[in-house]
Structures are given as structure tokens and as C-alpha cells.
């Protein structure tokens, strides 16, 4: 990002607020065009080049105020942005239920467990596959749901704060959640257990669930903060 661009501080502030890089690029471009019109207007009125530059930057307005106004207005333009508590505190919990329900339908169908539970004379389900799918579902939820909520925060212009809160909720949930499938033994009944626990071997059982949402949030924040709106061609 060129240091010389007068709108660079605004671009930085918008990115720090978690606004999408493409939006920041377009906005800065538009404001640069406006600033250039102001600069030309000042030159026509007889101001020196330096004075015209300073006047144009001043007329555009304070970068802090502008960044806050842009973020607030856009956040208000989407349902998620207007209802962040529902979207980023309650919906993660709903998403977990939906995730497991979808998993149950798909995994049960793939492994043949639904057919088997309806008719015990049908072929045995693929228990090792189902056990693997349960593990995948646990890990997949810990990785994919934070991606979904970070994406939602970006799309709704809600910023880092709400992405952070959603990831914190998901981290707590996945850190303690367990799911276990036990294939049928002598009684012929399989057992599926899901709940919360603190395992004796915390590092290998609980820590990955805690860490994955934070890892996703870290990558999201890093990508966002390292986005460089191309201000070079905004210097008209």
C-alpha cells in the first residue's frame, strides 16, 4: 500500500474494522475520485498545489468518522448486521444442531444404518465407516462452522468482533463436545453417545476442538488485515 496515498489511513481503518477487501478497494477508489474533483476545484480557485491537496483531504472528512459511518451504515443493511446477537451468538448453536442432523441423515444413508435399523435382517451397516464419519463430523464441524460464521461476519459487514464471538462460542462447544459410536455387541444394539466431557488426556481429546475455531479466526483475520487495496492506480 503506497504510503503517499492520502486515503491509505481510511483503507487501513476499514480493513481493521473487518470490512471486505473488495469493498474497501471500491470505496477508496470512489473517494479518491471525489478527492481529485475537490483538488481540481481548489486549484481552479487559485490555491497552491499543496494547499489544494490539504483542502481536498480536509473536505473529504475525518478518516475515523468516515470509517465508523461506513461500517455502521453497511452493518445496518443486512439482517445479520442488524441482529448480531442472534446471528453470532445463537445461530452457531443452531448451526451445530443442523450440522449433526444433516450428518445423521447422510452418514446413516452411506453406511446403511437406516436400512439396518428398520430391518435387522438386512446387511450389517459398515460400522468402521460410521465410526470414521462420526470423527470426521466432529472435526469437520470444528473447522467448517467457524468458516461459515467468519464468512457471514464479512458478508454482513459485522466485522471482527462478531466473528470473534462466534468462534469463541464454537471453540467452547467443540472443546468439550464428544461423540462416540459403539457397534452392537452381544445384545445386538449399537450405541451412539454425544455430549460434553473433559477427557483425562486433555491435549489430544479436547484441545483440537478448542483450537480449530481459533485457527480459522486467525487465518480469517490475517487474510483480511493483509489485504492490500490497490491504491496505486487511485492516484489520478
Amino acid at each position: 500500500m503506497p504510503e503517499s496515498s492520502p486515503l491509505e489511513p481510511l483503507a487501513r481503518k476499514l480493513l481493521l474494522r473487518g470490512l471486505p477487501a473488495a469493498y474497501v478497494h471500491d470505496t477508496v477508489r470512489e473517494l479518491s475520485e471525489h478527492r481529485e474533483d475537490l483538488r481540481l476545484e481548489a486549484l481552479e480557485e487559485g490555491l497552491s498545489l499543496l494547499d489544494a491537496e490539504a483542502w481536498a483531504t480536509r473536505k473529504i472528512g475525518d478518516a475515523d468518522h468516515l470509517a465508523a459511518a461506513l461500517a455502521a451504515k453497511l452493518q445496518g443493511s443486512s439482517w445479520c448486521g442488524r441482529h448480531p446477537i442472534i446471528s453470532f451468538c445463537c445461530l452457531p448453536l443452531v448451526a451445530i444442531i443442523v450440522w449433526w442432523s444433516l450428518f445423521g441423515i447422510v452418514a446413516g444413508w452411506i453406511s446403511g444404518v437406516w436400512q439396518w435399523s428398520g430391518n435387522r435382517s438386512s446387511p450389517e451397516p459398515d460400522w468402521p465407516l460410521l465410526q470414521a464419519l462420526v470423527k470426521w463430523c466432529l472435526t469437520g464441524a470444528a473447522a467448517m462452522l467457524p468458516v461459515l460464521f467468519c464468512w457471514m461476519a464479512l458478508r454482513s459487514f459485522s466485522g471482527f468482533k462478531w466473528a470473534f464471538i462466534a468462534c469463541a462460542i464454537l471453540s467452547l462447544h467443540h472443546g468439550f463436545q464428544f461423540a462416540r459410536l459403539t457397534p452392537p455387541e452381544s445384545d445386538g444394539n449399537a450405541m451412539f453417545a454425544v455430549g460434553y466431557s473433559i477427557h483425562a488426556d486433555f491435549l489430544s481429546h479436547n484441545a483440537p476442538g478448542f483450537a480449530l475455531p481459533w485457527l480459522v479466526f486467525g487465518i480469517f483475520a490475517l487474510l483480511q488485515l493483509n489485504s492490500k487495496p490497490n491504491l496505486e492506480n487511485q492516484k489520478l
Binding site: E30, E33, H34, K59, I60, G61, D62, L66, L70
Partner: protein
Amino acid sequence: MGNTNPSFLNGIPELLLLHLLAEREMYGYELVKTIQARSQETFHFGEGCVYPILHYLEKAKLLKSRRRKVDGRSRKYYHLTAKGGRRLAELRGEWKAVTAGVSTVLGWEHA
């Protein structure tokens, strides 16, 4: 008092922008200059302030924008959508009602 007038309280910039864009498509700088000229410089604001409102209106599908090259310079022009037209009619009605109410209170209705 059951109903407040949120559009009156918050919607003046929206009303002005939608009204001007109903006349013809314009870009940000042009809009600001038109507001200043028609209001005889009544409003003083950082000129960047129109963009949060324009972007909000665009997100709400009340406006659409397109890039056009004029005199060798690319500009982002905004124009009103059908939804924007309906919103403008609503805002005009609310504005008329509110100003009529205020005028009555101040005793200006026969002025």
C-alpha cells in the same frame, strides 16, 4: 405516542439523495455539489459522508450504480431503482406530514 417518525428523524439525507437521483443519475461529488448549490450552502458536512448513505441505499437495492467514463475519467454513477422510487414517494409523504405538523405547532400554517 404510538408512532414515531424514524424516517423524518434519520432519513433526511436519504430523502435528498433519492430525490436528486430521481431526476438523473449522478456521481458522489456531483450529488454533494448539487445539494450545496440548491440548499444555498445550508448544510455543512464532510463530503465523504454521502458515501455511507449511498452504499447503504445501494445495498438496500434502492439505488444501482455503474461505472462510466466521462471526459477520460471513470466515475461511479448512481441511479434510482423502482424500489427506490417507491421509497422516495414514502419519504416525501412522511416529510410533508411532519413539516405540516411542525408548521401547525409553530403557527406558520398561514404564513
